[in-house]
């Protein structure tokens, strides 16, 4: 295989050699190469097999529109499938492999599909695999997956890191060709903050193909670099244009390396909020459909020029250039200049003023002609519409069916594309957002004209963003006027003429879609999958529309193209997730005692946003051991627990009591200063919202506590009512959840423990009774004490300024040491709350009323309150509704499960209610639980069954009061 690298020219550094492999073979390339240019330079012609027919394919483009050269990049955990060789920057040690071939690229067994091609026509899957349904899962899908295998994703976790970055600017310029550079400079010189994004690793766009403009490009880049408020981002593809001038992009930070550097991300997801946007996204060349237009050796004319001029690579020897417009003449000239073989130019137009000039360079010009077919070695050329042609030996067929301005982003922004008859393509329509297109993206071709258009757009954007228009720099000269393009889409003939090479969609498939009723362009797209591959139909979307238009008997502009949506190019999920994965997925809240818990061996568990100690296991303890030990310590002596996660809201003001009276079903205006009271709050619809104790610290000062999970919703609830429903109330409130750490000290020895630790407060039962609130000091730290209990034992909660929580916690532990005080976690707390029968999250589940939970009598007799009216609805007031009851397993060894249904007999299909919470009881030595049971009050004492069909379990239970422990509430008052 001989080198196709030209001796000179292009933007590759021939002095430096880069080694890489493709399908296990070693090759060399140079810095500045893409994988595609390096493969071509090494004479690699066959790079993949097609998706459906497994036809051999070669490199067809030099950019993101590449349909064929999809490779697996890298190995192991970093293996990435379906990357486009045309978009991969060559680096030393790059490992790549072709896809969709078995057993090898050159010999592919699946290419038999190609012979059975007529059976695999459009809509084939829909038609064939509709029936019977079971065949789909078992037979068809596995077969299709093997046959149509795209690349293999890595099976190991991604070792690389990603991040997001958000930027703002006055002017965002997308694309760094002549128009983009001029736009950025004009806006930058006017004083605007400018960001210029370029997808490629080399800025310049079409300038990279024009040696004559190299000096201007360098000068422009240097000028942009010198402006501090202009930022150039290369390797950054803008993939989406959203409302309010928000655009999304991915910067491929380290994709051009085998592995990112230390502390470097692989890709960076970027968002831009721009006051003005200039879309200088250039244009994409479209193909012409003819039999064999997918054979290796078929390449877009602009791509061939790119390989010659930018990469110094001859993409073939004997070339046929097939065109309907002037742009491909430059390719023909460049091929002739490279001088390896014969160049034939086939122009469908019968006249062209350039023909003489081109002929003079030894190029065989055939006007009014077309390529009838190509088989990879020989092209058949003929007069347009003629029957016979002559055969020309060619290893390269360059195609140009005209240029489509890249209107995708403009279209996403809401600007409806407009048909341009002169270009036979769409150009961006009237802007809807603050954007404009410039240069080829708006249908203005040629470097000089595009630069001029870009400069004008840059000045206009700067002015619209509130800056002047002062800018002064030299623009390249205008080129000569091009001759009109001929609207020409397809050469009809026997054999497959492709409109979408990646998804193997042919012109015949489009016509079939029309015959079968899928005539709307959006329907035809989905029926044939035309334009749905990773190249988004950039090559052939409009060609497909033209063929559909012909079948419909309408002009192509009446058919249009499918709507452009994000993303303009495939985007890795990793980039979109950014840093927010794994442990960084969502915020974690830690109490002030978190570090103490860790140092003392707590098993920490996430509960909502919080990390909380579940228990503090000792060596040798397994299963429920630590939970039982901690709960027994509380029931028999004393325990200490971090309950800082409870929501705390400070409520002040002359109307604070009135405010609370309207929020809670019970009354707080009657609460004495220095006392607390349990309260229940309803939603507007009458369902219980939250519960907790509220303390009155002064006549106009309350402290509300909420459940852990409802702290933020409660504050919102209060804000909503204070701002919109009762704006007349003079009340101020704010969250103090983080200001106060809260420590529960519970158990019959809790008073004796605290008597040692607390200074300045008499804890005697008379002086500080149940539901008392007081202030004192522990270890010199001022604290608030509340005599409240969640465990059902004599208990206190101590609020301490959170920065001093550890000091106070340690002081209490020291005071409780003679009583064997133990720290207890969430599991022991939960065990004791189920024993005591307190409703918590599983019971306050957004479906229960106060009456359901046995708290109906708390509703005050008079005065309006949130939820009162709707709580009186018939459905909510129905006495037969499920009520909170207790359950106990009859056979102590039988486990109870939350979610089990309560039925009268095993096997009964009628559920009478469900089990909400369960635990093993240390008081009763059996499984106990709380349940919501229809007519629960009347069923107390009866035996029913808790069934879990999921586990095939049925447990006989006794219905009891929910208060499994101390139903008279004597212990808490002791």
């Amino acid at each position: 295989m001989t080198s196709k690298r030209l001796p000179s020219g292009g933007l590759v550094d021939r002095r430096t050699t880069i080694r890489f492999t493709f399908d296990g073979r070693s090759f060399v390339g140079h810095p500045g190469d893409t994988l595609a240019s390096a493969l071509l330079a090494n004479g690699v012609r066959l790079v993949g097999r097609s998706f459906k027919y497994h036809r051999p394919r070669g490199i067809m483009t030099a950019g993101p529109e590449e349909p064929n050269a999809l490779v697996e990049l890298r190995e192991g955990a970093r293996r990435e499938p379906n990357t486009k060789a045309t978009e991969i920057e060559l680096h030393d040690g790059l490992v790549s492999a072709s896809q969709n071939r078995w057993p090898s690229l050159a010999f592919d067994l699946m290419s038999i599909n190609s012979l059975a091609g007529s059976a695999l026509s459009a809509g084939f899957y829909y038609k064939t695999f509709m029936w019977p349904r079971s065949f789909w899962e078992k037979l068809y899908e596995p077969l299709i997956r093997r046959a149509a295998g795209l690349g293999r994703a890595a099976s190991q976790p991604d070792p690389d890191h990603y991040e997001a970055m958000h930027a703002h600017c006055d002017v965002l310029v997308v694309g760094s060709g002549a128009a983009g550079l001029a736009a950025a400079r004009a806006a930058g010189e006017a004083g605007a903050r400018v960001i210029l994004c370029e997808r490629d690793f080399a800025p310049g766009g079409g300038l990279l193909l024009s040696p004559a403009d190299a000096a201007w490009r360098r000068e422009m880049l240097a000028a942009l670099d010198a402006m501090p408020d202009v930022q150039i981002l290369t390797r950054t593809n803008v993939f989406g244009y959203y409302d309010h001038n928000l655009l999304g992009a991915v910067e491929r930070v380290a994709d051009h390396k085998a592995a990112p550097d230390a502390h470097e991300v692989r890709q960076r997801y970027r968002t831009f909020r721009a006051r003005q946007v200039i879309l200088a996204t250039g244009a994409s060349e479209r193909l012409i459909a003819f039999p064999g237009n997918d054979r290796p050796g078929v390449m877009m004319a602009g791509a061939a020029l790119t390989y010659l001029r930018r990469f110094g690579v001859a993409p073939g020897r004997d070339a046929v250039v097939f065109t309907n417009n002037d742009s491909a003449y430059e390719t023909a000239l460049a091929l002739a200049e490279a001088g390896s073989g014969k160049v034939t130019l086939v122009d469908v137009r019968s006249q062209n003023a350039l023909a003489g000039e081109v002929s003079a360079r030894g190029i065989d010009v055939r006007l009014g002609s077309e390529v009838a077919s190509f088989d990879g070695k020989t092209a058949v050329l003929r007069r347009r519409g003629g029957m016979s042609g002559d055969r020309v030996v060619a290893d390269l067929v360059c195609l140009s069916g005209g240029w489509n301005p890249n209107v995708q982003l403009a279209s996403q922004s809401g600007a409806r594309p407009r048909w341009d008859y002169a270009l036979t393509s769409h150009v961006p329509g009237e802007p809807v957002q603050a954007e404009q297109s410039a240069g080829a993206a708006s249908g203005i071709f040629g470097i000089g004209a595009a630069a001029q258009d870009g400069a004008t757009a840059g000045r206009r954007a700067a002015a619209a963003a509130g800056f002047g228009t002062a800018s002064d720099f030299v623009l390249p000269e205008l080129g000569r006027t091009e001759q009109p393009i001929a609207a020409f889409w397809e050469v009809k003939g026997a054999g497959k003429s492709f409109v979408d090479l990646q998804h193997d969609v042919t012109a015949a498939d489009i016509r079939l879609a029309h015959r079968e009723g899928f005539s709307h362009v959006e329907h035809a797209k989905r029926y044939t999958t035309h334009g749905m591959a990773t190249d988004q139909g950039k090559l052939g979307s409009l060609v497909g529309s033209a063929i559909l238009a012909e079948a419909r008997g309408e002009p192509v502009e009446a058919v249009g193209v499918p709507t452009h949506r994000p993303y303009t190019m495939p985007v890795a999920f990793g980039a979109l997730a950014g840093h927010a994965s794994g442990a960084h997925f969502q915020p974690v809240r830690r109490t002030a005692l978190h570090d103490w818990h860790l140092r003392h061996g707590a098993a920490m568990q996430p509960t909502g946003a919080w990390l909380r100690p579940f228990f503090y296991p000792k060596p040798g303890e397994t299963g429920w051991d630590p939970i039982f030990r901690e709960a027994r310590a509380v029931r028999s002596s004393v325990g200490i627990c971090d309950v800082s996660t409870l929501g705390k809201i400070d409520v002040q003001g002359p109307d604070a009591a009135t405010f609370l009276d309207r929020l809670y079903i019970n009354t707080f205006s009657t609460l004495a200063v220095g006392k607390c009271r349990y309260g229940v709050m309803l939603r507007e619809d009458g369902i219980v919202f939250d519960d907790g104790t509220t303390s009155r610290l002064a006549e106009d000062h309350f402290l509300v506590t909420t459940t852990t999970g409802n702290a933020a919703p409660m504050l919102e609830h209060m804000e909503f009512h204070a701002q919109t429903v009762w704006p007349e109330l003079d009340v101020q409130f704010c969250s103090v959840t983080d200001q106060w750490a809260q420590i529960a000290v519970a158990g019959p020895k809790s008073r004796e423990t605290l008597a040692v630790a607390v200074e300045g407060l008499d804890l005697a039962n008379d002086a500080f009774p149940f539901m008392g609130v007081g202030e004192g000091r522990i270890a010199g730290v001022p604290v608030r004490l509340f005599r409240i209990s969640f465990s059902g034992e004599l208990a206190y909660e101590i609020a301490v300024p959170s920065g001093q929580a550890e000091t106070v916690w340690e002081a209490i532990l020291a005071a409780g040491k003679p009583f064997g005080i133990v720290p207890y976690g969430l599991e022991a707390m939960s065990l004791m709350r189920v024993e005591k029968g307190h409703a918590a999250g599983p019971e306050l589940n957004g479906q229960t009323t106060a009456a359901d939970l046995g708290m109906g009598r708390m509703m005050k007799k008079s005065g309006d309150v949130i939820g009162r009216v709707l709580a009186g609805r018939r459905g909510l007031a129905d006495p037969g509704r499920p009520r909170l009851v207790g359950i106990r397993s009859v056979d102590a060894s039988k486990r109870l499960r939350g979610g089990a249904h309560i039925v009268r007999e095993p096997g009964s299909g009628t559920s009478m209610g469900w089990v909400s919470s369960t635990t093993q009881s240390i008081e009763h030595n059996c499984w106990i639980g709380l349940a919501l049971l229809e007519n629960g009050e009347t069923l107390k004492g009866q035996r029913l069954f808790a069934v879990s069909p999921l586990h095939d379990e049925s447990v006989e239970v006794t219905i009891t009061s929910p208060h499994h422990v101390d139903p008279e509430n004597a212990r808490v008052r002791a």
Partner: protein, 204 residues
């Protein structure tokens, strides 16, 4: 006896530097600060402004701004409500003084323990925050003294531009979320490198 007060809200085990070494890293400093939230009672806005002007020599700022003087800063946080920041040795005392001065005019709530204050300083401070926050922090849009209630690293923060010769920002965050935020800041600064200085403990 006054209780020993470990000033830092972060575990002593946290590393003091990380990320790329040798670059223009981000300096992250935990501040020891007293913080008090004051919220004017209905119709007492002007009285509160006058009183704060008299007792703290601070002009209460309008929305989106802060004012500073004599080592104290006032930050607008919501309509009729400000956060007053003072040196950490005034914890507790600042709240009780303000409670007296503003009796009947405003709700005064001590947040000295409820909020952590972290300052960021360095050439790349804005670029680090751009990874965590969606606001425009460019000097033209968010000049020194600007303040915003916004999400930083997915958590609610008060973000303040401190200005100065080296770009600097202040972050006031709920103390139970401070460690999460510090993790996020350090991860976002890894490609530049960072140093972390916790609030120094009380001298023995």
């Amino acid at each position: 006896m006054s209780a020993p007060d470990r000033r830092s809200r972060f575990p002593a085990s946290r590393p003091l530097s990380g990320g790329r070494s040798g670059g223009d890293g981000l300096a992250i400093t935990e501040q020891h600060a007293a913080l008090v939230q004051i919220t004017a009672r209905k119709g007492r806005h002007n009285d509160v402004t006058a009183t704060i002007g008299r007792v703290l020599a601070l002009d209460l700022p309008p929305p989106g701004r802060t004012t500073s003087g004599s080592g104290r800063t006032a930050v607008w946080i919501q309509p009729g409500s400000w956060l007053i920041r003072a040196p950490g040795d005034q914890k507790g005392q600042l709240a009780s003084n303000l409670r007296q001065s503003l009796d009947g005019m405003a709700a005064v709530v001590d947040q000295s323990h409820g909020r952590s204050v972290i300052e960021l300083s360095g050439k790349h401070a804005e670029a680090v925050l751009a990874r965590l926050c969606r606001l425009d922090l460019h000097e033209r849009a968010f000049a020194a003294g600007s303040s915003a209630s916004t999400l930083v690293g997915h958590v609610s923060c008060q973000l303040i531009s401190l200005g100065g010769p080296v770009p600097s920002f202040g972050l006031i965050v709920g103390s139970t979320l401070a460690e999460w935020l510090l993790d996020e800041l350090q991860a976002a600064a890894a490609s530049y490198g960072w140093t972390f200085q916790p609030a120094p403990d009380v001298a023995a």
